[in-house]
Symmetry: none
Subunit: 208 residues, 4 copies
DNA sequence: GATGAATGAGTCTTCATTCAT
DNA sequence: GATGAATGAAGACTCATTCAT
């Protein structure tokens, strides 16, 4: 039996698709379970059963439970940031503070609609993971892009690089904490009530 | 068989003491292990062995692993706050901002010396736990005291109660994040470098 | 409820017996399975099922599969040697060569009747295990006894200690190989045909 | 479609060559891994990865893991013996005992330089494997050659065939045990100290 | 109150083997 | 012949919890 070049291509892409399907199923099943039952209470067994693949198949694509967790969080986190940055670019805002506020607002609104993702990210997003992202060229592009983007905007302003980085860090941490607390726990108030306070604070932080 | 009031008292206090010894041993063993090996890698077996009691004894004093975790964190957290507040009171500071800064500085310095405790608290201190504290009369006292203390100080300032509570919440959350990140991970800078930025920010937050 | 001293003693010995029963069941089940199915094809699951205990109970008494293997082999090997030595002592033989031959003959006959044990021992008895025996006072007694026994007999003869130890080692190794090969594999001849050749060789070895 | 004799030959040799490359790679990878990591800890996956072939290819040339183990050991063992015999022939020794000693000494020195091979052979060389060799014409040649060689040498001596075979067997077994124990474990002494004792013993064994 | 032997469901992980391409 | 994704049974080991003493 022999195949034309076109047929062969179809075969390969089919094979690739099949591979992708199983891996994608695992990603989706794991995400669903992690956000529903929690990471701790989700076993590899649960994941493969939901994904409809054999247990061995899991270990074909992931080293262990923590590998898939990290990859999911990285994927989701960079996806949100990417969306936020793109949406902001479209707005073509000129003021530096406006840009930061717009990005943060976009992310807040996104997480408000994806409470489960917020829970997952909050408890597991760390600087260690961020370093992994930098080691991974695919994710790196976005991360690096953001870095450059902020630096560019910053340079137009007159602020020391270190000082700015620390402030940015504090803004991110504060935003994360407020999101988690107000969206998930409604504490000390819901997100709609917290937002003005948060934005006011961020503006203060950014004002020299 | 009957006892005099004095005998009864002796019995109870004896029982309480005996109970206290085993319970205290369990608390201390668990704290040592949680901060050393981490919560996940500490088993009940490890705890009872270190405490020198039988396995069944654990279940005499605690419902399960999570029960003891919560109680330890609550104990430690309120103990730190208590110390911080007392130290601040002794200073007899008059300025509202100075008081807040002093309390926070005290806590930061304490956690800098107790990195293991910082790790434990950061990953497990939540508002859910705070609600538990309110249900526990002993801890409640401290929490309530702190609340009143801050409110008193605040009332001297002209700020809306709600607004102030939200700001306070943000200050606490931000401080927690900065502590963890700079003390444990040295990211984005060590605590000595972060402190001025943090205090500057807190002052901005408190400034009307 | 209270117990007399006698009752308490009964309770303790009962508990001890129960413990012994489970452990003994595990030993016996494992021995039976190792000699029947082989070590490689016997799982912990097989052992606990045959022993009629829970899986966790296995790990109460043994670290892992290799722990129980070693302990069984050590137990059995020292038991055979003990029997052989005792039987030889009863004979009150005076000649040094006769004693060695008698001990070896006893062991050969014992292993001929316990082919399964022979298989197990042959493939797993090593000097590493011997060192373990020395670390274990219980087994040590027998091992040390044998050592002293041979040394005593030897001293009556005029031979250098090292030379003798090496020769003894070779006798033991040769005997082991011949036993395994002739009893289990009937190669190059059965044990009855091999024995005269072996004994002749041993006598040559012992003759100065 | 038909081929000339020459074409057919080319096809076969080509197929054989292709087959040989993959098969040889598998042999070499497996040998390297078995001697390095040990048989138990080497998986088919390890072998094919090291050999640079697909997993399925392994099953094209070998039935299973034990098949390749046996074939490797057989190959290596007969190769050593072949070398030893050839080296001895070149010496043109006349004395029967000298020949045996020379062969054994050659093998000992070879194994001393190839400790990993010694380990592999010792734990897995059995008479069962020897029977396989007889079924395999390729290996048979060498084995049969050796047999004839010894018988020839022996016939010049006056000894019963059976007796001699048994003695030879014992010499081989003893040599194997001493090699393994003294070269690998240095027990009860290193090979340089054991050699004189071993040779003395072999000479005794061969002396009628 | 205190003990600690016993439990067994639950979890991760491996790996020889198959088979559609 | 060659591939390598997929399989899933099999295995080792853990540990919170119970309960008879």
């Amino acid at each position: 039996m022999s195949f034309t070049a076109k047929e062969k291509l179809t075969q390969i892409s089919k094979r690739t698709d099949n591979k992708s399907i199983k891996e994608k199923n695992l990603y989706e099943a794991a995400y669903e379970l992690f956000t529903t039952k929690g990471i701790y209470d989700t076993s590899i067994d649960d994941i493969v059963k939901k994904a409809g693949v054999a247990k061995g198949t899991f270990y074909l694509y992931f080293m262990n439970k923590y590998d898939i967790i990290d990859r999911i969080i990285l994927k989701k986190a960079s996806s949100i940031i990417e969306k936020a940055v793109k949406a902001t670019e479209e707005k073509a805002l000129s003021d530096y503070t406006d840009i930061v506020i717009y990005v943060i607002d976009y992310i807040i609104e996104y997480l408000r609609e994806n409470k489960k993702l917020l829970k997952l990210i909050h408890k597991n997003l760390s600087w260690g993971l961020y370093r992994k992202a930098l080691a991974n060229p695919e994710e790196y592009k976005i991360m690096e892009y953001i870095r450059k983007y902020f630096i560019k905007v910053i340079n137009e302003n007159n602020m020391k690089a270190e000082e700015l980085e620390n402030n940015l860090f504090m803004i991110i941490e504060l935003t994360g904490s407020v999101c988690y607390s107000s969206i998930i726990l409604q504490e000390p108030a819901n997100i709609d009530e917290m937002k003005p306070a948060l934005f006011k604070m961020i503006k203060k932080m950014l004002a020299n």
